[in-house]
């Protein structure tokens, strides 16, 4: 065997080890989740469940509350994503192409927003929503979901716009392109990945969002994290239905991620192709 082949083998081994470890680290908690979701009998002193079945899935779907939670979560997320993009795309354009004092100020403000614990904003938002009669209101939850998403999305979109060489827009203008054409032919092809990545952040944030929805929407508006929290957090802990519900979030999400990687080629970086 040549030296190259041996080195190659060693390399493959290292690859397997490192990547294998990372994959295991990501996936092992999910495996335990699967165990709980399918365990009909699993005494705590046993290492593995002794009886598997679908009891928890049918249990969870039997409840109107839970079915509504699925609907709420999966309708609020795209709406929040679209609303966030609507705010962040024009803002990102400004921040990414014009590095003025205003841009820097805005960036700083938004970044500081990212640092704020959501529960603090929630305790301040509660009286405001109450005064405006917006508690337990579906549409009023959307802005609440956007608060945490905006810093990440804006950052991603700004970075995307920063990639576009400044002269390109000027050249296009000089050559007679209209505003719309500039957007379609110059910006869109170069920034859509960053925008999409920002959109995914917003979608993921909304899906995850829990404490603001708990403070402002509960008990009428229950999203999946709240439904799971009802089983998992605080006093009443029944992990099995929580695990079943979690799979109902995870599996579609994983499919979305695979789809995006494969067909839309959105890399998992925030720049680069």
């Amino acid at each position: 065997m040549t030296v190259m082949a041996v080195a190659d083998r060693r390399q493959r081994l290292w690859d397997l080890l490192v990547i294998g470890f990372v994959v295991f680290y990501m996936v092992f908690p999910i495996f335990v989740l699967l165990e709980y979701a399918f365990a009909e009998v699993w005494y705590a002193y046993q290492l593995f469940p002794t009886k598997l079945g679908f009891k928890w899935f049918s249990w969870v779907l039997r409840h109107y509350d839970t079915r509504m939670a699925i609907i709420y979560s999966y309708t609020l997320a795209p709406l929040a994503m679209l609303a966030t993009l609507a705010l962040c795309i024009p803002a990102g354009y400004v921040l990414g192409t014009r590095r003025t004092k205003l841009s820097l100020l805005t960036e700083n403000l938004v970044n500081m927003n990212m640092a704020l614990p959501v529960i603090v904003i929630g305790t301040g938002l509660l009286p405001l929503y109450f005064k405006l009669g917006l508690l337990n209101n579906y549409w009023a939850i959307i802005p609440a979901h956007m608060i945490g998403a905006i810093p990440y999305t804006l950052r991603s979109i700004t970075a995307a716009f920063m990639q576009v060489p400044r002269d390109l827009e000027e050249v296009a203008r000089v050559l007679g392109a209209t505003k719309i054409q500039v957007i379609r032919k110059v910006y869109l092809p170069l920034t859509w990945r960053g925008i999409l990545a920002g959109g995914i952040f917003a979608f993921s944030w909304s899906l995850n969002e829990f404490i603001l929805t708990l403070l402002l929407g509960f008990p009428t508006i229950k999203t999946l994290p709240i439904a799971i929290y009802e089983y998992v957090g605080g006093y009443y802990l029944t992990p099995q239905p929580a695990a079943a519900l979690s799979l109902l979030i995870l599996i579609p999400s994983i499919f979305i991620a695979i789809f995006l990687e494969k067909y839309v080629k959105v890399s998992l970086g925030m720049g680069g192709g």
Binding site: V32, P90, L116, G124
Partner: protein
């Protein structure tokens, strides 16, 4: 000063964002700040308190009360979690950049799992792994006892050292850190690396002398992002934290929902805001200018 069309466009495009932030962020923050003095912005009573009073603050800085230590604990655990996640995320991103294993492209979507896992679920999954009968707890304790480092099984979750919280936080933040680094690392011109290698640099030297200097501001910025996100998150410390000490935001949650002590909650909120704003401002101020130059 002439107001150009550019300026108008800038303002118009930024207006929706500012409008949103005013209503959903600035006003609530104002409410919290005023509330910490017992003043209610919307005319809603805060229980028995009629402000302005300093009770909230006196209570907070009182060393016999838990709040001050709780703030310290929050910062200190978040720092440790940040160091681990950023280092791990960076090293893994470098490994992939340098070695470029072909298998990676097939399974890279696995990395998004923690992103799509609700924090509540992620925290719970780690609880099941770390509670005394959890798989990980059994393995870790066997190893520690076997090596003679501990005499009996140590608690790994709901513990006073924040170990459980660290496990939960790192699982999630590692991915974010990795994702933020991976892109810029790919952007670094391969010529630089080739040049270094042709001059005889080992892999480690390439990492230390080429990659790290070119991405150092990204490292600082990412650390800032991860640190602040860790300090702000509530689900993980809520489920994985112990009786004592607790994260400050868990204390706020308990004050609002269990003891209905709004003034303490608002006061804690103010301290949180100040700590986060100061940290955030310093770190971003430091990096924003550099990033601007770096990308150009």
């Amino acid at each position: 000063m002439k107001i150009t069309k550019e300026d108008i466009i800038s303002v118009v495009f930024l207006l929706p964002l500012y409008a949103f932030l005013s209503v959903m962020v600035f006003i609530p923050i104002l409410n919290v700040i005023l509330g910490s003095f017992g003043i209610s912005l919307f005319g809603l009573s805060m229980g028995k308190v009629k402000g302005p009073v300093l009770d909230g603050y006196l209570n907070f800085v009182n060393p016999s009360k838990p709040y001050l230590y709780s703030l310290f604990f929050t910062i200190y655990i978040s720092v440790i979690a940040t160091v681990i996640s950023v280092a791990a995320g960076y090293l893994f991103a470098i490994y992939l950049t340098v070695k470029r294993p072909p298998i990676w492209s097939k399974i890279s979507s696995i990395m998004t799992i923690p992103l799509f896992t609700p924090y509540v679920v992620g925290a719970f999954m780690w609880w099941t792994l770390l509670f005394p009968r959890g798989y990980l707890a059994i393995v870790i304790n066997r190893i520690l006892m076997g090596l003679g480092l501990t005499k009996g099984p140590i608690p790994l979750v709901n513990d006073p050292y924040g170990i459980g919280i660290l496990f939960g936080e790192v699982w999630i933040r590692f991915v974010i850190s990795f994702m933020i680094f991976y892109g810029p690392l790919q952007l670094i011109s391969q010529d630089l690396v080739d040049a270094a290698r042709s001059l005889g640099a080992s892999t480690w030297q390439v990492i230390l002398k080429v990659y790290i200097p070119l991405t150092k501001y990204a490292i600082v910025a990412t650390s800032a992002i991860v640190l602040l996100a860790t300090m702000a998150g509530i689900s993980i410390p809520l489920i994985l934290g112990g009786s004592w000490p607790q994260f400050l935001n868990v204390m706020i949650y308990l004050d609002v929902t269990k003891t209905f002590d709004f003034i303490s909650a608002y006061t804690s909120g103010v301290f949180y805001l100040v700590a986060s704003a100061v940290l955030g401002y310093i770190l971003f101020r430091f990096t924003a200018r550099r990033i601007e130059f770096q990308v150009r």
